[in-house]
Amino acid sequence: MLFRSNAKNQTREVDQAGWGRTFGATVVSLIYFFPVLIIIITAFKEHTDALAVPAKLFPDFLSFIVPEGLTFKPTFDNFVHVFSRSYSAGAAAQDTGFDRFFFNSIFIAGFSVLLALFIGTLAAFGFSRYPLKGNDTYLFVILTTRMLPAIVVIIPVMLMFRVTGLSGTYTGIILLYTAFNLPFTIWMMKSFFDELSPDVEDAARIDGSSERRVFFKICLPQVLAGLAATAVFGLILTWNEFLFALLLTGVETRTVPVAMSQTIGGDIGVRWGLLAAIETLFLIPVILVTFFLQNQLLRGVTFGTVKR
């Protein structure tokens, strides 16, 4: 069990319901998931199939139960074309730059989350164990910077980046995303530190352990699962972020959401199959994370303010 801190939740008595409820929930869940499912299906369609009326929803290997007109022939072309395709009929295939954009998304998110995790965990430990005068005020200001509309922060940051020449560089966007992830990391990690029982720590302090030892040998090992959850949540938040990336990344540092929004750009001639393939690739990590973090999801989406 990766996330131990949640074990006590499961011992709580919850009413049991049988397979009848499973059936109802399955129907509802599938309807709810339908929009995502359609995109994944569309990613395997040829361009003309993606635009077909009535919609062809089923791959052709299901044709023994589905009428002829509703099936399409699955193809992997879209996934290949995400990375390399010819822009006019007959021309040689060109690199679309999407390998670069995916790399940028991973690199920028990874780097900034690591930085934020390092700085934020220290700060969270400080806020949790050595409250300052006006501790709550600091925490409130920190959370507010995260709650602000992105546009409020971006206007002055753009000016600042223009003056310092950070616009369009990895350094600039990574710094900004570190600041973007920091409030989340601090609140999240503080909620984990607050939950630890102080007894062991106090015992260690009485035995003469240094504060550094208390942090590294006692506190940190207990919140490793929380650290992992925080990191993964930060990765997803950064991975999905759009406005900062739109305004502060250049051609070289562009991330996937920005590139994706530019693919939708013109109304006419959007290649929906291709777009769906980009989205599918973009979604895979998100869906995996949702699966593995299910128990920490509540805490994650509320920045650690609601634990159970």
């Binding site: 499973t22 929009p35 919609a55 400080g126 992105a150 000016l159 003056v163 920091l182 777009l275 609601v306």
Partner: protein
């Protein structure tokens, strides 16, 4: 740092060159920066200011080492936030009193003129009304569907864990991806939503071409994305209801509606309130999905999108800075309320 109210241990020696003399470093740094601002070009001043702050930081750390652990631990975080958030925000507050435009060189102090203008600007009020409409509708729809989903998943049943993932996924998606999905579904000719609508009416159904339709389109997409969030919070409340209360109610033959009203609802109320506030804050800054779905067309331009337009497309930097302070103020009030309720809940539980 606030906690360092006694300066270095060496007492009165303010100008002693020592690695722990942070106050001396601060004074030297400020003096150097002011002098260079007067005589040197701006870019050099920036470097000098940077070097001075680094020196102050180093001396402050040396001074605090081993004594003010709390301050030392949070200092890096505070520094990053000050550089990347607080300082830019103060800068834009300053700018809002000038007539600065990013595409021109002029800079003239005009005091509160921008604020007077935005209060009297009917366009701003119109955008605020649009935003309010969207916030009320989308939050309402989310709350209703979130609640219903939570009731469905409140019991333990086979495969529950896997089915929950299907429902929770939308919440984790990127606004851009969701916007792109729904652009495809709303497409007038081959979009799925249009095709379904065509079964009932012969008219070509173009959802995004009317104001009502465009608002509905945004609300559907946003509510689909965030109803799982409400569900998650309500679920936490439902699970926390002690089972014996229901057992007692069953013994007393309390009708289902009364049972919900007097047992279930009180346990969910607090979390419902938190969900409401959290989603209101988030919906208030609705930007990405509108940007992708309608780009503000059919009078769906939210206030965030309006500020974006003013700042980025029309280069009205100062005016948009003053506008953004209206947003900032609103969000601060809402966040405060949210934290108050969250803390109260944490203390009770």
């Amino acid at each position: 740092m606030k906690t360092t109210d006694t300066p270095s241990s060496s007492g009165n020696a303010l100008f002693t060159p020592s690695w722990s003399n942070w106050l001396g470093a601060l004074i030297v740094g400020v003096v150097a920066t002011v002098i260079s601002a007067l005589v040197l070009p701006a870019i050099t001043t920036l470097w000098i200011a940077g070097a001075a702050s680094a020196l102050v930081a180093v001396t402050a750390v040396v001074n605090a080492w081993g004594r003010y652990i709390g301050g030392l631990l949070i200092a890096p975080a505070i520094a990053v936030l000050v550089v990347m958030n607080i300082f830019p925000l103060l800068w834009s507050l300053g700018l809002s009193f000038y007539n600065y435009r990013a595409d021109r060189q002029t800079l003239r102090f005009i005091g509160f003129r921008h604020y007077e203008r935005l209060i009297n600007d009917p366009v701003v009020w119109d955008r605020l009304t649009t935003t309010a409409t969207l916030v009320v509708l989308t939050v309402l729809v989310q709350m209703i569907f979130g609640f219903l989903l939570a009731l469905l998943f409140a019991k333990q049943f086979p495969l529950r864990r896997y089915l929950l993932i299907l429902v929770l996924t939308p919440m984790m998606l990127s606004y851009v991806a969701v916007g792109a999905f729904f652009r495809y579904y709303y497409d007038p000719t081959f979009g799925l939503v249009s095709q379904v609508a065509n079964l009932f009416t012969d008219e070509p159904y173009v959802l995004i071409s009317s104001t009502g339709g465009a608002i509905a389109a945004i609300v559907i997409a946003d509510a689909w994305m965030w109803a799982p969030f409400v569900m998650l919070l309500v679920l936490a409340g439902l699970v926390s209801v002690p089972k014996y209360l229901y057992e007692a109610a069953a013994v007393d033959r309390v009708p289902a509606w009364r049972r919900f009203q007097s047992i279930t609802f009180p346990y969910v109320k607090g979390l419902l309130m938190l969900a409401l506030l959290f989603r209101t804050i988030e919906a208030f800054k609705l930007f990405d999905i509108v940007f992708i779905l309608t780009d503000g067309g059919q009078s769906t331009e939210t206030i965030a999108l309006y500020v974006y337009r003013q700042a980025i497309q029309f280069n009205k930097t100062s005016y948009s800075a003053s506008l953004s302070y209206v947003l900032l103020f609103t969000v601060i009030v809402l966040t405060n309320l949210y934290l108050y309720l969250a803390n109260r809940r944490a203390k009770e539980g």
